[in-house]
């Protein structure tokens, strides 16, 4: 159940699914995109954007019923919403609250945006990036030093 008043938005138990809270304001639709949620498959999805938040001024949140995220999906969310918390709910019980955590080194989630980078060649090289800054995102390619920001990552999802 979501109860939203003028000043507060509270999320209580849903039967099964995932609640993603504390998404950086303005990024709920990006998170939907990286999760491939178009609203054209079954399952209720609720989104609230620009909700007042004590911690960050404003935040977005997302509730996806009937779906649990895997670790790769959680890592992708960390790229765009480093302060997000993820609650997996089964049979009305929250199985645990989890903060997303961007690793220091990111492997295999996305490609380098530099077409000349060796990781984009036929060589058996796994794209690898160092996280230089979390928010706003700034990551550096291990192979060619190319810097990528949030928007560069988002276009790949």
């Amino acid at each position: 159940m979501i109860v939203m008043t003028k000043k507060t938005l509270r999320v209580t138990k849903i039967k099964d699914g995932t609640v993603i809270d504390h998404i950086s304001s303005g990024h709920a639709l990006d998170v939907l995109k990286i999760l491939g949620v178009t609203g054209r498959v079954a399952g209720v999805v609720t989104v609230a954007m620009n909700v007042p938040s004590k911690r960050h001024g404003a935040k977005d949140m997302l509730k996806i019923e009937g779906r649990e995220l895997n670790s790769k999906e959680v890592d992708k969310i960390a790229l765009l919403a480093p302060h997000a918390t993820i609650n997996i709910v089964r049979n009305y019980k929250v199985l645990g609250k989890q903060r997303v955590k961007l690793p220091e080194i990111i492997r295999g989630i996305m490609k380098c945006a530099n077409p000349a980078c060796v990781s984009n060649s036929d060589e058996p090289v796994q794209p690898t990036f160092y996280v230089e800054k979390e928010d706003p995102l700034r990551i550096r390619c291990h192979y060619c030093g190319h810097i990528m920001e949030k928007q560069d990552v988002l276009t790949q999802f």
Copy 2:
């Protein structure tokens, strides 16, 4: 306030803004797109997708606080969500419930997708379409007869 339980979603009064209900299921994000709502400007926006509906099996709905739609925006919504209802709310009062209505002839909202059409030339010709079918959308260009469907329209917004 939105109160959403397992089976129902009810929208009661918000202070100021627009509530768009009975959006064809799967099209809430499209409606956000045509309204230019990215979630990156101020104002709380709430979206619910695939909510059970007596009338159409499932529906989407959308609540945009602090914004009232103009008639051109309402016409655009009609193209994508012909069953939608629009409630304008001011100071907690619903000023009137309005069903969107697709006119038989559409002028000036979008361009013909046929690049060779005279309406895409330098001639002083206003793009004009006949609505052949509402849902799924099928419109025909007055000048060249080119048929456009929902996806063709959506790419222009």
